[in-house]
Symmetry: C2
Subunit: 355 residues, 2 copies
């Protein structure tokens, strides 16, 4: 049995009984029932996932997975490919957006080279090299990677999780970096959801009308040429995906198998979640959707997975920045559950209707 099947087999149901108990406790806290809205839902979901009545997030972790994309040769991005390794260095030095957000919530950031096109010259415990290849191949000319590489990328994502899990993970946020990576994300989304390419393609880092029209054409050509099978997520990943998307899918599966809440970020991470979801729909119960990205394809995936994002702040950076904001809200929900007084303990009178 392969590593992917093995991890999928370990994904069990969430603990519904404990969730009912958590709801009872939430209803008995010194506040009108349901008055903390979605924060209460979050707490309940964490209880169901972890199987703990009093969960807490000592170890918050972000994986920012980086990869390059052969399809950038078609001119689909506003930034040159050299930016991928440059940003990896920026992450390791702690000066990128994700570092600011992760510090704010007290999370550690692990950067993973899933397939950056150049050799990363920095040695650092925060950087993991799981390079499958030096970037994917140009999917407008043939498959982005082989089926074996697609499997390897998912397995690498499982491995990253399991290595870091030993050091402690109570909640995981996922992030991405890779010039051109909204292009494979749109392709994956179009194939799996069956929606037209135009409906799931956005402007990525901020491309102009000309590049945008070209991007749509390139994605259509790649799908037509490679004919990925929508029922076979590994085939989709191989033909029109990316190494970081595969790695992210693996980490989603591993987090669910280990009963660790896992939080999406923007479009690329959510494309990884979609691959995981198509492999095993139960993974969804372990996932929190942090925010609604400006990228239109993002919403298409969330709708398919029936996940409702927590935030809508016009963000489209990726890296795990949205995941950090999501983790902060989930942590607040958990603290509500575990730190607030009940009506009895605080000697506060209940609502007339509840008496």
């Amino acid at each position: 049995m392969g590593r992917i099947e093995e991890i999928i087999k370990r994904i069990g149901p969430v603990d519904k009984k404990l969730m009912v108990e958590a709801q009872k406790r939430l209803d008995n806290l010194t506040k009108p029932q349901d008055s903390l809205g979605r924060l209460e839902e979050l707490a309940k979901k964490v209880v169901g996932i972890t199987g703990e009545k009093n969960p807490s997030f000592k170890n918050k972790v972000i994986f920012t997975m980086a990869g390059d994309h052969g399809v950038v040769k078609e001119g689909v991005s506003a930034f040159p490919q050299e930016v991928t390794p440059q940003m990896v260095y920026n992450f390791i030095r702690g000066r990128a957006g994700i570092n600011v957000l992760a510090r704010h919530i007290g999370a550690r950031v692990i950067v993973v080279d899933m397939g950056v096109a150049s050799e990363l010259k920095m040695k650092n415990e925060k950087l993991k090299i799981k390079k499958i290849e030096y970037g994917t191949k140009n999917m407008a000319k043939g498959p982005a990677m082989t089926r074996e590489e697609a499997i390897e990328s998912i397995e690498a994502g499982i491995e990253v999780f399991e290595e870091e899990y030993k050091k402690g993970i109570d909640i995981l946020g996922l992030g991405d970096m890779g010039i051109g990576n909204t292009t494979p994300s749109s392709a994956v989304t179009a194939v799996i959801t069956g929606r037209p390419v135009e409906e799931v393609t956005g402007r990525g880092t901020g491309i102009n009308d000309g590049i945008f029209e070209n991007k749509i054409k390139v994605i259509k050509r790649a799908i037509k040429l490679n004919r990925p099978n929508p029922k076979d997520p590994i085939d989709v990943l191989a033909k029109v995906g990316g190494f970081e998307i595969g790695g992210l899918a693996g980490s989603f599966l591993a987090a669910a198998a280990h009963r660790i809440p896992v939080v999406t970020d923007g479009f690329i991470v959510t494309a990884g979640a979609l691959i995981a979801f198509e492999l095993e729909p139960k993974v969804k119960d372990y996932i929190f959707a942090s925010h609604s990205s400006v990228e239109v394809g993002h919403r298409a995936i969330l709708e398919r997975m029936r996940l409702r994002p927590l935030l809508d702040l016009d963000m489209r950076l990726g890296e795990g920045t949205g995941a950090c904001l999501g983790i902060s809200l989930i942590e607040v929900g958990v603290k509500i559950l575990t730190e607030m007084a009940t009506f009895e303990s605080a000697e506060v009178s209940k609502s007339i209707e509840e008496k």
Copy 2:
């Protein structure tokens, strides 16, 4: 000149020139332009408010203002009036929703008795007694308070701010507690915005259909009987408002005068902001709308003030809980501005279009 006029006179314009500079800096950080969406707006607004290029929030403060309402005699709430002081004790003991949220963001909570109907028996530095009266009068039978009391309540809000400002306030969140206080908030909103009572009245702590219909009737009766002048916010506050609403209005004005960013919470706090706004529209430039409450009247006020809420999490607790979440996002925005690397400093290549 009265204390209110004096503080209003001190509210100046925000620093537009510094905001332009902040925008330039934001555009030069290692991320696609505008990719952190509203977080960037928040940073820019804080720079304009404070006049500081590198703002930081060492002292985050929440004022939770409590008051009682004579109108509860009409049966408009699901909770008995005794809950107001009980919750004040809960706040002081640190076990209510606001305490959990404030700890999460590292804020200190000051509870203010603006007009609780009973004598608070606890002495504590976190509790300020600014009691105008033992609850308002029943507005369904006559004015909630005298014009002098309305002025006093606003002045008390200014005073609370100035006392705490001496101890340090870099950002202020406002909150409320008071059984029955969505009723005056709806009345104030209906009068000032000119909208029908039905459109600005919600279910508060969670009342059933019968109480809800009665609540609408009571508000209509109070407005008809007292004829508050929509052009005179102090008249509106006196006739159909509440002591905590006045106190909140005063703190909004004082924060703006001292160039301190001030963050709304739910419906009651925003009704306080509305009174402040009607007295001096410039106050708006100093206010951040944290979230969109389940209470419908809340949106009517935000629309009038043209403030766009940051969050929509189905919350309706009050106390300052929404303000805490807002402060956390504003702080993230500020950290983005002050902690992220620029393209030059990180040696990251810029977008092709920007070259």
